[in-house]
């Protein structure tokens, strides 16, 4: 894709500054005014998944690497945060009824008498925040290095990341004494003495989350519009040609995979803060694939689309499972099939194809790009 991204496919589909302002207004003004704190907290929870979807737009949409293991990074980010909060909640005074006071309750139940070594550093908030981003990025770096240097890609990459999600879930569930097992890390109370369970705290966390999300969108937009972003698109479309031009393709893939992992982890940490627990049910194969559908529904090429897609799918999920629980799986299944077969570029693609041309009609004399110029199906999917 040699077009200038400012008015090329990516530039248009990103939405640009106006689109981001619109989203910011929706998140920071419209939703807090229109929803009670319970629903707003719920939207906040959805927004944490949007971080994962953003990562997938870069990783899958731009660079053509479909990772089915983003739940791993979401989970690790969430667990890093949860470990800090759990240690704060299990001070010796708060846990004096245990046989060993001062360690998290689930460790006590599992007959552990001392804090495991890898829990120790999580007494520090700074360390925990660094760990939220660094641990998943490091893991992604190792996996990416091993895979992309060996030119493992496409389908094989997807299946292997899925296997990692399975491995991590089994580990977390199996090592109950260290991780809280299937229940996860629950009963989180305060952050540096600040009670996160009150309504005001939830409101503050919602705004922090929204601001972080906007920040991450801007960061992603910057990455995509940089030269690096264009190389990513180029290697998605014709990997060999980029390699022959002298670029080390693997390094770019590793970078974008790590970047997506770090984004997902930030979402995971915000999830823990807002929801108050973390469990292996957000790590495994099923949530990881669901996260892909958030991105796909919004549009795998569009950053803003991914956020709207996440909000929409989760909102539909909540509404449907509240009133017709048996319908939810049907709807989700239909979404998967529909998005692949009918609108591969998601809602953003539909908007670009049908709505944007109408909005643009008054300025037809300027440079309009015919709808046919944009490939509806990204050609990278055929490359494997």
């Amino acid at each position: 894709m040699t077009r200038n991204p400012q008015n090329g496919l990516l530039g248009r589909i990103d939405g640009g500054v106006a689109g981001i302002l619109l989203l910011a207004a929706l998140l920071v003004i419209v939703l807090p005014l229109g929803l009670d704190i319970f629903r707003l907290n719920m939207v906040g929870k959805y927004l944490t998944y949007a971080f994962v979807a953003l990562g997938l737009v870069l990783c899958w949409g731009s660079a053509g690497i479909l990772s089915l293991g983003q739940g791993i990074f979401f989970g690790i980010g969430g667990y890093c945060m949860a470990m800090f909060l759990k240690l704060e909640a299990s001070s010796p005074e708060a846990t004096k009824i245990q046989s060993t006071p001062g360690i998290p309750d689930f460790m006590d139940w599992n007959q552990l008498t001392a804090l495991p070594w890898f829990w120790e550093p999580f007494h520090s908030l700074t360390f925990s925040i660094v760990a939220v981003v660094a641990v998943p990025a490091l893991l992604a770096f190792i996996v990416g290095l091993a895979m992309f240097k060996r030119r493992v890609g496409g389908v094989y990459f997807a299946i292997i990341t899925q296997a990692f999600a399975a491995i991590l879930t089994i580990l977390i569930v199996g090592q109950q004494g260290y991780t809280g097992g299937i229940n996860g890390i629950t009963d989180l109370r305060t952050l540096k003495g600040w009670d996160i369970r009150t309504d005001e705290a939830k409101l503050v966390l919602y705004f922090v989350n929204a601001a972080l999300l906007i920040g991450c969108i801007l960061l992603c937009l910057y990455v995509r519009r940089s030269k690096l972003g264009r190389i990513l698109v180029a290697l998605r479309d014709k990997e060999d040609r980029v390699r022959f031009s002298g670029y080390d393709v693997a390094n770019f893939k590793i970078f974008v995979f790590c970047f997506a992992a770090a984004l997902s982890a930030v979402g995971g940490a915000m999830f823990t803060l807002q929801v108050g627990f973390m469990s292996p049910s957000f790590v495994g194969i099923v949530p990881s694939i669901e996260m892909v559908i958030y991105c796909a529904v919004g549009g795998r090429l569009s950053l803003l689309g991914a956020v709207y897609g996440t909000l929409l799918v989760n909102w539909a999920k909540t509404m449907l499972s509240e009133s017709f629980p048996e319908l939810w799986l049907f709807a989700m299944g239909a979404l998967f099939i529909g998005v692949v077969m009918v609108f591969p570029n998601g809602l953003a693609g539909l908007y670009q194809q049908y709505i944007a041309p109408r909005l643009r009609r008054p300025t037809v004399g300027r440079t309009t790009i015919p709808a046919t110029a944009a490939p509806i199906i990204p050609p990278h999917t055929a490359a494997d």
Partner: protein
Amino acid sequence: MFEGYSLAELGSIFAMQGFAGLILFSVFVLMALGLAIIFGQMGVINMAHGEFMILGAYVTYLCSNFISSTVPALFPAYFFIAMILAFFASGALGMLVEWGMIRFLYRRPLDTLLATWGLSLILQQVFRSVFGAREVGVVLPDWLMGSVAVTDTIEVPINGLFVMALTIAITVVIYAVMFRSRWGQGVRAVMQNRTMAGAVGINTEKVDRYTFGLGCGIAGVAGSAFTMVGSTGPTSGQLYIVDTFLVVVFGGAQSLIGTIASAFTISQAQSTMEFFLSGSTAKVLTLLTVVVILMLRPQGLFVLKVRR
């Protein structure tokens, strides 16, 4: 980890675990054969493969109930009828799916992954609505129950032996169909060079449809065999899908021998380790080993040399 066992006991343990591994191996092979045909030959990722298995299992369950209540005389042999029905039920559904969905998605493997995942969710909910959320099991006929004592310490369950025999029979049939029949030759021709196969007069669309149907049919038979060693619930299929894919990829996607070899390695490793370590640790170690080997050898153990 070996303390406290005498040599004879260790021998029996390894024999018993080895045998448990063989049953697991049979299950893996049955699941993976269908997938190896669909993924290896056609390049389609069928995430709903597990659900096709479960369909076969439910057909067997229905068949067992129906026969035991209407014609009890046939009950000892119901299993064979059920297997044939399971093959045709899953195969027919597979062909329908190919016609309605998969044929639009050839050459977009990652999209087949998402679409078939959606299909698997829908099928799961259908199973749940029809059969309920509880797991169901079938009653085995008398001749399948009990076990054979090989020595004082080694016992071999008969249903396990039966599943193994079944696996061998099905593998031989698949081999004959894919590599010895004219139809199989056509399938392989289409998969290797679609345009050329079409040019020499092979109806490629028809070949695609029947190949997909065959793969799904085998999944149905696998599910049917599965009812003899475990119970079936709406979400059982999802538990095995990653394992099955790893088996196929580990063996080398286009090689049936590779699929069998990798199923054997993975099942034996897991079953032997399971005795000495906890089940979850054994599983993690096995999966990790497979993933690491796959990183070193992305094409799998057995690579089919094809001119591209």
